[in-house]
């Protein structure tokens, strides 16, 4: 089987680089997955939702790259 056998998302419509998309998949895993072995330094940030932190950062960055969020962009086209 090759990649061509699977439908690929149209990344060009997103307005930001494809590598950002794979970063999201990576963050799904390295922030929410992975064994939690209490680290002395990170003990006190264990209660902070790391995924929320990172997604906030990601959304901020996407807005910065596109100049506006996709919802607003869609509304403008109507």
């Amino acid at each position: 089987m090759t990649d061509a056998d699977l439908a690929r998302p149209d990344l060009t419509s997103a307005g930001y680089p494809a590598e950002r998309v794979s970063l999201v998949d990576l963050l799904d895993r390295v922030l929410a997955g992975g064994v939690v072995v209490t680290g002395e330094i990170t003990l006190s940030i264990a209660d902070v939702d790391l995924v929320v932190i990172s997604l906030r950062a990601l959304l901020t960055s996407v807005s910065a790259l596109t100049g506006q969020d996709p919802e607003a962009e869609r509304a403008d086209r109507r």
């Binding site: 089987m1 056998d5 699977l6 439908a7 690929r8 998302p9 149209d10 990344l11 419509s13 997103a14 930001y16 494809a18 950002r20 998309v21 794979s22 970063l23 999201v24 998949d25 990576l26 963050l27 799904d28 895993r29 390295v30 922030l31 929410a32 997955g33 992975g34 064994v35 939690v36 072995v37 209490t38 680290g39 002395e40 330094i41 990170t42 006190s44 940030i45 902070v48 790391l50 932190i53 990172s54 997604l55 906030r56 950062a57 990601l58 959304l59 901020t60 960055s61 996407v62 969020d69 996709p70 086209r77 109507r78």
Partner: protein
């Protein structure tokens, strides 16, 4: 080790895996976060892959701040993943969650000793296995809102072309165009609803089929369109755990599901180290 440096952990394995029949595993070529050399800390038959980091950048306060910086997070997540991904090709391991930092080797050893039983259980469960990511979106369908090509404006723009038939036909077709538009619009909305329902059902079927072919499965929250970069809603964001030898058959099964479900756009990622099958709710399972 100086006072202002800490120890970043990447993965945990059994000490025995580091000295195979062909000799000890050489990790001297492997660099991690901040391009620091990866080394091992062993305790009670377990080994952690670690590297030294500066507490100015990776101490608690700095971590809090840096995790909000996408460029920093991007780089560090990739460096962390690189070490785990490379090592997972050499021996079975447990990935450690991003941003696990210790004050020194003694703290790493203590953690290995304290959690030894649970870590060994987890290693038996996922060690040597890989995960495949499958995302499914509703396939592209007709836009839900009116646009220039389909709305009543169509009639107006035709008139503007100044075709001779346009002027004389207008009074007769005005109501017809409006009614036809409303009918078409209603049909569009109904079709869009049905398409969405079919896609949701399809995604559930895909997940059930693939779960049956995997050793284990986990669902991640669907990514928003801003994050996924795909305008259609993500209906499935799943991870499947496979024996290394099962990957060929599994990826073929994903291709088969993509073909069997034209209402979906299916995307495959992997193979990943088994991140999604350790930690979180499964911790200590």
């Amino acid at each position: 080790m100086s006072e202002d440096s800490g120890v970043w952990a990447y993965a945990i394995t059994e000490e025995g895996h580091l000295s195979g029949p062909e000799g000890p595993v050489d990790l001297s070529w492997l660099t991690g976060v901040g391009e620091a050399k990866v080394r091992t800390v062993t305790s009670g038959g377990l080994a952690a892959l670690v590297s030294d980091v500066s507490l100015a950048e990776f101490g608690e306060a700095a971590l809090r701040e840096n995790l909000e910086n996408l460029d920093w997070l991007d780089e560090v997540a990739r460096e962390h993943h690189y070490v785990i991904d490379a090592a997972t090709r050499l021996f079975p391991l447990l990935p450690v969650r991003l941003a696990t930092v210790y004050t020194g080797d003694a703290a790493v050893s203590a953690a290995l000793t304290e959690r030894g039983g649970q870590l060994r259980d987890a290693l038996r469960r996922v060690g040597g296995r890989v995960e495949w990511g499958v995302k499914a979106y509703a396939a592209q369908h007709e836009p839900e809102g009116p646009n220039e090509a389909e709305g009543p404006d169509e009639a107006k723009s035709a008139d503007a072309d100044g075709e001779p038939a346009g002027g004389s036909a207008q009074p007769r077709t005005e109501g017809g165009v409006g009614l036809a538009y409303l009918r078409r619009r209603r049909a569009q909305l109904t079709a869009a609803r049905e398409t969405k329902t079919a896609a949701v059902t399809g995604a559930q079927e895909v997940h059930a089929e693939l779960t049956a072919k995997a050793a284990d499965a986990r669902l991640h929250p669907p990514q928003s369109p801003q994050l996924s970069g795909v305008r259609q809603p993500m209906l499935l964001n799943a991870a499947y755990l496979l024996d290394a030898a099962g990957s060929v058959a599994f990826t073929a099964a994903v291709g088969g599901q993509a073909t069997a479900h034209p209402e979906l756009r299916v995307e495959l990622t992997g193979p990943w180290p088994p991140y999604s099958f350790v930690g979180g709710d499964d911790d200590g399972r």
